[in-house]
Point group: C2
Chain length 330, copies 2
């Protein structure tokens, strides 16, 4: 294993130490593993907390900042954070208007966020929760009952974050987060595996011309192994899976996301295909992201995420955001 790390068990702490000194806009508690905004939101704003296993950067810590998250709780690589982190985050960001937990649907994350919510409630903090489960590839998976939560998380964090910034109440912020999740679907394809620092070995094995269609962000199996094919066909497979589950029409927000080991030039090739194939269906991409936003360490491959927009969602998407990984319009 060749990784740019000091030691497998120091990766998360070392990366948080680097994050802390790289971004003055963040306040990083390296020991307790909570990433906060350096400049806290004003009292009365709903606090947004997310978190999950590390190895998906920039998710979630890269999305802490004005217009998006108030706090992120990073676990070990591909491992849920613990309730103590989530409770510390809730306490730190509650400004009297309550806290929304944004939870990707993995069993460990779900249980730990639930426990943290109960502990926070004991403290008198009002807690809402949204479960992100947008990955149409499979029902139930290696670490999940139901569908996995993947790319929609970025959209939920951005759009709920914008509404929270406007001073909306917890029930409204929770409702819009649920709406974004309900209107969003994702599908991923791996061209190869990732290597976790702890194992030092590829998470799965693929032949020289083999791909994993419907892969999860921890390398969970998808729908099938298939033969490598041109980008147009891979995009078609992903779009088909999404469209079968949620027929697409009107204006959409699209993310072509790199899983970590795919060059940006290839992501633009894929985005061009998505645009062309959606145009053929009469679907217009009104907004887009192309890049590495929710990764799986150095996994080569991509995921496609599509959200059926409404005017309101578009407006909230366009609202100013200022985080390490997403920034515009302020």
């Amino acid at each position: 294993m060749k990784k740019l790390i000091n030691a497998p068990d120091a990766v998360v702490a070392d990366a948080l130490a680097g994050l802390a000194v790289a971004h003055p806009s963040l306040s990083v508690d390296v020991e307790n593993r909570v990433v906060l905004r350096a400049q806290r939101a004003s009292r009365g704003k709903v606090g947004l907390v997310s978190g999950g296993g590390s190895g998906h950067e920039p998710l979630h810590a890269g999305f802490v900042g004005y217009g998006m998250l108030d706090a992120a709780c990073p676990g070990e690589v591909f491992t849920s954070p613990v309730p103590d982190q989530m409770l510390a985050a809730a306490r730190a960001v509650d400004g009297g208007a309550g806290v929304l937990q944004i939870v990707k649907n993995y069993t460990g994350d779900v249980l730990n966020f639930q426990m943290a919510a109960e502990l926070a409630a004991d403290d008198g903090i009002e807690v809402g929760s949204v479960l992100v489960n947008d990955d149409v590839a499979v029902e139930d998976s290696l670490y999940t009952a139901g569908r996995r939560g993947t790319g929609a998380t970025v959209f939920v964090e951005k759009i709920a974050g914008a509404l929270a910034e406007q001073g909306a109440a917890l029930a409204e912020v929770t409702a819009i987060a649920e709406e974004v999740n309900a209107r969003t679907r994702s599908f991923g394809i791996a061209l190869g595996p990732a290597v976790t620092p702890a194992s030092g070995k590829p998470g799965f094995a693929l032949g020289d011309t083999e791909i994993e269609v419907g892969v999860g962000i921890h390398g969970e199996p998808g729908r099938r192994r298939d033969a490598m094919a041109p980008a147009a066909q891979l995009v078609h497979a992903a779009l088909d899976a999404i469209n079968d589950d949620m027929p697409l029409s009107g204006d959409v927000l699209v993310m072509v996301n790199g899983l970590g080991g795919t060059p940006l030039i290839e992501l633009y090739v894929a985005y061009g295909e998505v645009h062309r194939q959606l145009a053929d269906k009469g679907v217009r991409i009104a907004r887009n992201l192309v890049g590495n936003y929710i990764t799986s360490l150095e996994m080569p491959g991509f995921s496609l995420t599509v959200c059926r927009l409404t005017d309101r969602l578009t407006e909230l998407w366009d609202a100013p955001v200022e985080t390490p990984a997403l920034r515009w319009g302020r």
Copy 2:
């Protein structure tokens, strides 16, 4: 070879087609391979043109926009663009105040930009040129006489772009570009090779525990093959090489750049080390970038770029920028 492409000879055109529909802020001439700002700069502004082989994205097209480049000319993967592209770019962006070419020191790029400059001069366009040659790893290399141009390009494009936006004359913009290059040094380390679409094969071979110390952005050999080591040691080797060439002191701008296949979490580990080791030397990182800015397709590894700042350079670095890959403060 598993790549997210349609065909090796279509990669650049397909990616430009994707870039065109992804970014309304860009005007992309896919056929002639020139990327311009959709909203042209006002007359009287010096036009900034750069370009080079594709495969280093987001460089250069991702840096076209307010406060940075006016035009980028992408060549085939790891291959210089041709003078016609550069001439078309110069004609498109000349607003009467002349054009600055930002040229990374590779023989093909240098010759072609020179020819384009002569052709543009025949058209009555005043052309300045800055040669970026910041990579301290080796004198002369596979495609270069003298030192290779790497990470400093990002700094030159940003800082010269900011000065041009303020309405400075061509001589001043050229001078600051040269100053940034003179005050900046880089050093890269590869943990593995990249695969060009045309060859379909790794550009070089490394053993399971071997690294290339001082690698170029096309996989050119560095100073030596060495054994894989912890991040702290790799950062130390890179910093030492830079410091030996240009003793560091005072305030610096640092980029920890991913070569394409290294997870962001690892880049933050490396950045933490850079910060600690520079602090030990009494050097303060006043500004930083951590991420994939000048890549080598999917190469695993990183490069470190350090610029000795002045107040003026810091001010220009902080000036508003609005491009697909770098955006702040407007």
